[in-house]
Amino acid sequence: MAPDTPKPLVLSNARVIDPARDLDAAGSVIIADGTILAAGPEAANQGTPYGAEVVDCKGAIACPGLIDFCVSVGEPGAEHRETLASASEAAAAGGVTTICTMPDSDPVIDDPALVDFIFRRARDTASVNVLPLAALTKGLEGTEMAEIGLLQEAGAVAFTNGHKSVKNAQVMRRIMTYARDFDALVIHHTEDPDLAGGVMNAGLNASWKGLSGVPREAEIIMLERDLRLVGMSRGKYHANLISTSDSADVIRAGKARGLDITAGVSINHLTHNENDIGAYRTFFKMSPPLRDEDDRQAMIAAVADGTIDIICSNHDPQDVETKRHPWAEAEDGAIGLETLLAAALRLYHSDQVKLITLLAAMTCRPADRLGLETGRLTKGAPADVTVFDPDRPWVLEKSAIRSRSKNSPFEDARFSGRVLRTVVAGRTVYTYV
């Protein structure tokens, strides 16, 4: 708890959406001592705590602060790309109140002392909640399992091999078996590295561009393998970034078999397709690669029907040194913290996904998967709240990007939906001016 407790805050005249309660109604959010006192219609005429700051939301939406399941930060090791401080600033501006940091830093977060380092740096420099994901294998090499027990005790919320798959099925099986003893969630990037072996989605588009292709099957095969291993080990598993219609089918079938599995998708795969690459624009190079329009539509449908549980930014800051190269030589990755909510709202505006479903995929569902108290506006929950106007138009200008790296595929994009205020543990960390 911070020594200076923020003064009470009342967000009045809001449209309160709390997906955990399936609530979407006019009301208020009352915050004191960093936690929610009341939220929703029942909070509307409750009066205000003594000394409270009262903010008139003028009908804007107040929802739980967003939880971003998959965020790469340059700290430690590549602070010129992004620090925990700059990432948290970007997050706050995007309405994200909790970031789960990927372990693929330098050094890799595969030691309890490094988890502790992330917590200390976050406490000292970050304005949003930072929850470290720890490495699944030592050095992310995919050969030796990391110290899942000790890392979990240090505070790691889940385990992932970053943007690399664990290729060896026996290694993966043993890790999942071991992780189950600790009730640890295994988050996996599902892409067979040998079969992938390309730089953009395989198909006609790649062929005309003269680029080597990443077949969809590289993802599907790895995902199918993983779910068989989940069946053997009965562990908790999350497919972090799926991108094909067949992957969604595999997840559906796995859930129908009663496996403890969830799936995620990056915002990029909901809003872009391979045609956006245009003239080899490397900000659109990522892993998995952007797929065709049919797959994008399948991803949207999978979010709408709940097959995909979690939407993340897959925020991955890269600078000119790593991006300004010929396509095949450029690094994967795009930033996305600041635009996560605004981009997701495109699916709401196009009537493809209900607003409450979209928000659930970025609030209570990631929270539930990690066993967090946040991600909801229930009484006693941490007061992480985002206020946004779903219709306010804006344009992402490169000069306004808060991330240290500017590799956004949304540069100069128009959005409808603007974050107005972000509150973390009762403290306002961002206001739109």
């Binding site: 050969t143 399992m145 110290e147 899942i148 027990g149 043993r174 003893d181």
Partner: protein, 318 residues
């Protein structure tokens, strides 16, 4: 069944001792009672009996061993046998056919007793079919190690007066342990309640149907235990393949005073050796007042004497 009723005269109607599996409880108790006598013999100044006088015992170890081999050697010598140790380096043996060739060669030397250890499960059984003498399994891969289970039972019975209804927790690398398999069979045969404690990666599949209660949490598994049986963790399994690291294994599965406190106050600690102090067991526990580890070694000689004697009784021309 208790130690007070002697099974000393129970016949042992087997040519070989290849495993605990297949032994009747009264046969096991018979061996334990014989072993009690052997303890007495071994504690005399003059430690020699003559039941194996003129007999030849060959110790054939395809896998390195100090304590088991010397224990069998002493046992044979205390019974008056001529004992020969054959260390077979693994590189010179290429399994299968060569194993049978070795058996045929040895058989031609007309031994009476053959004590065999091999790194492959089932190798001792295969060899037993090819020779005309009695064969004792001194450990075949992760399959069985019957004399270890017998010496463990003897040690337990001498301290607790019984085996039945004791709660025995076997902790560690169950998956790769012949000691665990033989003990699970023997302890169940004599009516003990057997638990296993290990990370899931070190449990064989189907463990839930092997007559044991399974625990991943060591403290839970030790609650109310009368006997804590630790297993050695092989070095090659320590670094990332089955468990992440020694320090993590020690934290969750190393027997230290704190975890041992969850067992009964009069719980006893056992280990088949050789120990890895600071990996599966804390030095203060290994060498502490509840430890029976030294005594297990003494009982090992006695049990092997009992086994050799029981088998010799069935040899031709006896």
């Amino acid at each position: 069944m208790t130690a007070t009723h002697s099974h000393r005269e129970t016949p042992f109607p087997h040519r070989h001792l290849l495993g605990i599996e297949g032994l009747h409880p009264h046969e096991i108790l018979g061996l334990l009672d014989r072993a009690e006598e052997a303890v007495e013999v071994s504690r005399q100044v003059h430690k020699r009996k003559h039941v194996l006088e003129g007999r030849t015992q060959i110790n054939l170890f395809f896998e390195a061993s100090t304590r088991t081999q010397s224990s069998f050697e002493l046992a044979g010598k205390r019974l008056g046998a001529d004992v020969m140790n054959m260390a077979v380096s693994q590189s010179s043996v290429k399994k299968g056919e060569t194993l049978i060739d070795t058996a045929a060669t040895l058989n031609a030397m007309n031994p009476d007793l053959l004590v065999v250890r091999h790194h492959a499960a089932g190798a001792v059984q295969l060899l037993a079919r090819k020779v005309s003498c009695s064969v004792v399994n001194a450990g075949d891969g992760p399959h069985e190690h019957p004399t270890q289970a017998l010496l463990d039972a003897l040690t337990i019975r001498r301290h607790k007066g019984k085996i039945a209804r004791l709660t025995v927790a076997i902790c560690g690398d169950i998956a790769h342990s012949r000691v665990a398999r033989s003990n699970i069979i023997l302890l169940n045969a004599l009516g003990a309640r057997v638990r296993v404690i290990a990370p899931s990666t070190l449990l064989p599949s189907g463990i839930g149907k092997m007559g044991v209660e399974v625990f991943q949490d060591m403290r839970e598994g030790l609650k109310g235990a009368d006997i804590v049986m630790m297993l050695r963790l092989q070095r090659e399994r320590m670094n990332g393949a089955f468990i992440p690291s020694v320090r993590e294994y020690y934290r969750y599965y190393g027997l230290d005073a704190d975890k041992l406190a969850f067992a009964r106050d009069d719980a006893l600690v056992m280990h088949p050796g050789p120990m890895n102090r600071g990996v599966e067991i804390d030095p203060s526990v290994a060498d502490g007042p509840q430890s029976l580890i030294r005594e297990q070694v003494e009982m090992g000689v006695a049990v092997r004497m009992a086994v050799l004697e029981a088998l010799a009784a069935n040899l031709p021309n006896n």
